[in-house]
Amino acid sequence: MATTTLRNTCSRSRSLEFLVAMVVVALTLCSASVRGGDVTSVSVDAASRVTKIYGAGGIRGLESYQTGILVSSSGHIITVLSTAIDSEAIDCVLDDGRRYTATLVGVDLRRELAVLKIDGDDLPHFKLSADSPRQVVGTRVLALSNLFGVAVGDERVSVQHGVIAAQVPLRARRGSHEAAYRGDVYILDCTTNNPGSPGGCLVTWQGLFIGMLGKELRSAQNGTWLSYAMPANELALGLEMILSGQTDQSLADQTQSLDFDLQSLGFILVPDLLDLTPPFVEAVTRDTLAAASGLQTDDLVVAVGNRTVTSQRGLRQELSRLIPGDPIQLSIIRDGNIVFVDLGVIPAIAEPTRER
């Protein structure tokens, strides 16, 4: 860590200024070492590796600016994939006010990442590693981003503080569309879902780079706005993929949600008339998996495996996540008690067999 700090900072300075810089760094290092989580020095250092990004957009609801993170000394910048960078001219403004025109190197559609490149050298940056350790809930963090675009020119990006509130798979939506990425993210307790925040950097109070602020998304669970960050190791994987020229177009996670045919399991639900019709069993067909498991009319399905369902739609969604060979275990409420029923495993052929 110390080495990185020094190398990145001093390489920016020139000739005689260099000495001064070294002394400053030495002193900073000294104070940071002794006091550990010095918010000021950590912020100043992290801000030098963050860039303001200005691109297309500016239409109502779509911002034309966001934030990016320098990930190589030669000017690779990782940021979120958005309309702002879907542009002929993308401008990146560094912490010292230098303005560069960036080119788009590639995108990772699943993680919704983009890599930009500016023409620089010896730029301060964060080193991404696929082995970055995950942080635990309650870890104090600093989020640096061009929040609302208030930082102009060489003004330092804004710093927010908070903790990691949770670490969970992302289940988010934008409008009615589900987000493609389903991997783990850090949920933050500070509000980082504002214009300009996407692409900002997340560091611990000790200065360790741990993630990138995500897009403006809502939770698919309860519709609230999400403040989240993609962990550093995922970023590293995305970066590696983009730089190696692969373009992951397979949105595998997304396309698998097929409408599940409950009849093939041997039961039907009460008519699905409402948004949140509870999954009550209307009827069980004789000689089927459902009948064999002991499922009964009027049972209320409340969970598939470990995941709770509260509506018929939820039940179908959960079942559609299962792949052939997965066990089908339902928790149901019957006469005020929770009962488990085991419907065996998902048949090898996903297509429902229709026998008459």
């Binding site: 190398r7 000739s15 309650g138 104090r140 109070w205 470990n306």
Partner: protein
Amino acid sequence: MNAALERMEQWNEWSSGMNRTLGCVPSYCFSLTVWLLCVASLNFHCTTLAEPPEQPEPALAEQIAFQTAVRTIAQSVVRIEASGLSIAALQGGREATPTAGPSSGLVVGSEGWILTTEFAVPPDIKEVVITLPPGQQTTKTPKQPLERLVGRVVGRDLNRRLVLLKCNPKTPLAEPQFATQKPIQQGEWALAIGRVWDPYEPSVAIGIVSAVDRCWSRAIQTDAAISPVNYGGPLLDIQGHVLGIIAPLPAEAAGMETGTELYDSGVGFAVPMHDIVPLLPRLKKGETLRPGLLGIGYSTTDPINGRPVIEIVRADSPAAKSGIQSGDQIISIDGQTIQRIADIRHALTPKLAGDSIKIILRHEGEKTPQTIQAVLTDTLPPWKRSMLGIIPARQTLKAKNKKAQNSGVMIHSIWPDSPAEKAGLQPQDTITAVAVTGAANADSLPFRPLASSNQLAGFLGGLTGNTDVVLKVRREEMFQDFSMTTAPFPETPLPGTPFKDTPAATPIPGNTPPTAIVKLEIPEVAETSWAIVPDQQEGPPLGVLVFFDEPSGALSENAVTAWAASWREAVTRHGVAVVILPSSDSNTWRQADLERVGKTMNVLSQRYEIDPTRIGFAGFRAGGTFAWLGANRFETIVRGVCLIDADIPRRSKIQEASPERFRWVLFGTANKEDTNAEIQQPFEKSEQLLRSAGMPVGFLSFADDEEKALRLCQWVEALGLL
């Protein structure tokens, strides 16, 4: 020391590398720098070695404290999901009450008692699924199956929106420690815990206690991020002890009812444990705790800072039974000193039905305070507004005019066929005192002197049904008593004929009355609102009609001028300012437009003197529905709503009418061939609901825009009816 030497070697190696890269930099620079760095790192190592087990630095110590607190509580925070409409309810076609995803709950008894909020368990839900925390030893991977139990609703606290559930765990649940020993301090750490994100691990948000005694002394306020992800979970102090249950409480002052509007805003609430713990035994017994009502009201323009003088005493209410009278000044409630109306609300809002309270008060005109005891109730007898049938002269807020009013309530006009007309009251009469004709001797009637029409409104607000009253009236410097029986408020608010007016107000035919069109600009708001006002320097305070048309976006001055043509006569004749509020979106009315309504009213009241008892909202089609929502948002000031070719939104909450919350509702339509059957049909259901809530509902039809304008402005005048 070895480590330091190793580092020094690394620096040397690195600096020579740098030297090659930047050949121009003299090498002594590097030597110096390296030396400095070594000193730095040596210093560091020396300190660590010299001082054995060092305290972690504060930021880290705090982080450790947060994480320890979360661990301390983890076993007591459960996840709650409602899947629970009964089949009967579903087949009956009732709409589902959407519960937005899972919620959290807190163990309050090891035998399976779980406390959560109404957000997780809406009123029509009786059973929920409770997911218990994973066993203590379980790490995140591999994930053990979680234990789920059925939770049954046992008790509810409707005043604090809490729900007590019972489940039957196989092993006792972990009871948390409550922080009820010491008072909660503003500024102390507050950790908001939930189990929504991850059933295996509770989530945490960090903040401080922003305030105590919020929501009229029912809640702690925190800046920790509060949202559906932690409603029902505990708010902890830094030791991991429970300060309170996180709950979406209504921030009435900000016009927010569900309490969820404030999520992630920096404002969150929790119901303090020291209030909940004493209630737990009652909740466990299956009680439903309801807000305690006393049955008093005030008639003041400042319901927060006004003097704590009671104006309205609801008939058959605990207040009436305990001997509280109109005009009493409250001195203390249960030992809490009362100095303004807000203090009364702070003292009463946390109370529940059945609670007995001790009130010290002073009757009007008396010196010795009285102590009374009242038992609060959960429902007040239904209230219907009764009237005398007088329309008082315009009221003013300005101090300079107050003196003129102190002599009584001057009558502007008389409602046709009303008790006042039958008793022989006339425009320009002044009512100076009023009394209920009870069993008391006619000579010793407890006359209540009247200084303002507010006081008369308060007096009438406390009456029920047909009550015999006596009015002391001054007519041309002569005093006379008039007896009458109050009548229910008119069902059809607008009589076919204009009500009896003072002659001066009748317009001179052929003259176009002078009006002005004014821009009402609000700082930081792009859309300009407009008002059509009588063009006069001096005059009585204006009534206000805010009109919402179909959404059309911003209006040009020309459009407004054209629109205003049909309003000119009505505006001057009845002394009404008609405000036209354009929608910010050309296709739809938005929530944000509601906020503009309030600001526009403020701008208007800064420029013109307004009569607060004559403010009505009206709207056409989508604007009509929006007018209803606006009236809900500003319910304390809006006395009437008129929906033209519009109905109230189906899910809109209709609150019981009370003296403080009273609204006259009109459904209007352009007069086609024949009228009433056609107009009334679509609104039957709303009419029924409104009437059963104690609000008068009328129907308005008009032949053209001029008539519409006249009828609406006349109605605004009539809103002051007493």
